[in-house]
Symmetry: C2
Subunit: 278 residues, 2 copies
C-alpha cells in the first residue's frame, strides 16, 4: 500500500492510497476519511460507491461528508468505480468499461479478466481496511446513481453484512433501463436470466423481509435521468408490498449533481449512525 495524499480535514485525516488488487488484477486507488478518535473504540465504516465516470475523488472533494463523519466518529471509504489501467479493457462510451464497473462480476470477455467490482467491494477492500486501519467490523453502504445500484445490490445480496444501506438517485432496475442493458449485455451476455442476480428490484422481490436491511433513498424530481434510467418508485413499490423498511424521499427541484448529494449527505450519515453506532 502506498500513501498518495494526506490532508488534515475536520480534525481527522483525509488520505488517498494505492494498492495492488488481486481480485481486479490491477493497481487500485481508494480514498479514506479517518475521524478523530478517543483511541479506545474503533470507529465503524461507511462505504461510498460513486457513479458513472467518477473516481474515488468526486465524493471526497465535493460532498463534504467529512464534517458529519468527524462529528459522529465514522470512517468513510471511497473506492474507485472500476478497474483501471492500460492493460484493462475499455470502451469509448462513458457508460461502459473504465469508470463504469457497475459493481458486478463480469462473465464475458474481454471484461471478465478485471471487472469483478462486486468481489472487490464485498471482500478484498473490507479485508484490507480491517487489516490496515483501526476500524470496527460494523459497516454500512451508500452510493450515487450507478453507485446507488451497487449499494442496494451489495446489501440485498448479503443480509447482515451491512447494518444499513442508502442511495442517492440509484439505478434500481438496471435490467430494464438503457445504462443497465448496455452494461449487462457486455459484462454478463445476452442471456437475461443471468441479469436478475445483479438487479436490485429482482433481488428485493426475492428477499425475506424478516432479515431486512433498513434503507434510505433520496431522489431529486428535477433529475435529468429520473424517467429513463432511475425510477426508484419501482423499487419502493416492491418494498411496500413486502413491508420492507425503506424510506424514499422525493426532493423537489434537485437534480443528479453533487449539489444534490451535498445537500442531503448529512441525513444519510445520521441515518447510518442509528445502526452503526448502537
Amino acid at each position: 500500500m502506498e500513501l498518495l495524499e494526506e490532508h488534515r480535514c475536520f480534525e481527522g485525516w483525509q488520505q488517498r492510497w494505492r494498492h495492488d488488487s488481486t481480485t481486479l488484477n490491477c493497481a487500485m486507488t481508494f480514498s479514506i476519511f479517518l475521524p478523530p478518535t478517543n483511541g479506545t473504540t474503533p470507529p465503524p465504516v461507511l462505504y461510498w460507491l460513486s457513479g458513472l465516470t467518477c473516481t474515488d475523488e468526486n465524493f471526497t472533494t465535493k460532498a463534504n461528508a467529512q464534517r458529519v463523519a468527524s462529528e459522529l466518529g465514522m470512517v468513510l471509504v471511497m473506492p474507485d468505480t472500476s478497474p483501471r489501467g492500460a492493460d484493462v479493457a475499455n470502451d469509448d462510451g462513458y457508460d461502459l468499461g473504465q469508470g463504469a464497473g457497475f459493481y458486478l462480476n463480469a462473465t464475458q470477455q474481454p471484461w471478465a479478466t478485471h471487472f469483478r467490482m462486486y468481489d472487490y467491494i464485498r471482500d478484498e477492500l473490507p479485508a484490507l481496511i480491517q487489516d490496515k486501519f483501526n476500524v470496527s467490523d460494523r459497516c454500512a453502504i451508500s452510493g450515487h446513481s450507478m453507485g446507488g445500484h451497487g449499494a442496494l445490490l451489495l446489501a440485498l445480496k448479503n443480509p447482515g453484512k451491512y447494518v444499513s444501506a442508502s442511495a442517492f438517485a440509484p439505478i434500481v432496475n438496471p435490467g430494464n433501463v438503457p445504462w443497465g442493458k448496455k452494461a449487462f449485455t457486455a459484462y454478463l451476455g445476452e442471456d437475461q436470466s443471468a441479469w436478475a442476480q445483479w438487479d436490485s428490484c429482482a433481488l428485493l422481490h426475492a428477499s425475506q423481509a424478516d432479515a431486512a436491511t433498513p434503507m434510505l433513498i433520496d431522489q431529486g424530481d428535477n433529475d435529468q435521468f429520473l424517467a429513463d434510467q432511475l425510477q426508484p418508485a419501482v423499487f419502493a413499490e416492491i418494498a411496500r408490498q413486502k413491508d420492507w423498511p425503506l424510506t424514499l424521499r422525493i426532493q423537489p427541484g434537485y437534480d443528479h449533481s453533487y449539489f444534490f448529494i451535498a445537500s442531503f449527505i448529512e441525513d444519510h450519515l445520521r441515518f447510518h449512525a442509528q445502526y452503526l453506532l448502537k
Copy 2:
C-alpha cells in the same frame, strides 16, 4: 448575461453566469449561490476570491459554504481569478497571466489591456449583482491564498465598503515573496514604489485603525507555502501594533488545500454574519 448552469442546493440555487465585462474587455464567468429568502428582506453578499489556477468553480464545488449560507441567508458570489480567452495575454507559468490576476490593475503591457481585476471586483461585478439579483447593499469579502491577498487588499483600500474581511492562507506581503514579486514585476513594472498600493502589509501600515474593517485569518501550520509565500504573522504583527481588529488563527496540521477551507468556512461565514446581518 447568459445562465450556464443552475442547481438546487441546500434549498437555494447555485447558478453559473457568463457576461461581457467592459472593465476586463472579455467575457467573464461567475458563480452565485442564492439562499432561500422570505421574499421581503434582500440578503447581503459575501464575495469569495479564489487562488492561483482556480476558476469560479473550485470554491463552489469544494468548500460546501452553501450549507451555512443557506441557513444564514447570505448570497455567495464567486468570480473567476483573471480575465480569460484567446485574445487575453498569458504566460506559461501557473502564477502569471490567466488564472493569476492578483486582484490588481496592471499598468504594464501586454497585461494592462485586460488585467484590471481590482476594478472588476470592486465596481463592475457588484454593480451587476445589485442590478440583476435581489440583494441588499451590505457586503463582505473573503478569499484563499492569492484570493486572501485580494480580500484584504480590497477591504484595506476601501474602508466602509466591506463590513468585514477574512482570508485563508493569504499572501499578505506580495512585494516580498516570490509569487508576488514575479506578478508585480510583470503587471506593475520594476519600480517597486508602485507596488505598495497593492500590498496588504503596506496598506495596513498606512491605515487608520479608527475606520478598521474587522478581519479573520485562518492559516494551517502544515501549509507547504507558509514560510516562503504567506507569513500571515507579518500582517498580524502590524495589526497588533495598530490595535487593528484582526484575529489570526493557526490551525495545527492543516495544509493549503480545500480540505482546510471546507473545515473552517463555517466559522468565516458566521464571522461575517455578525456584521452583515446586524
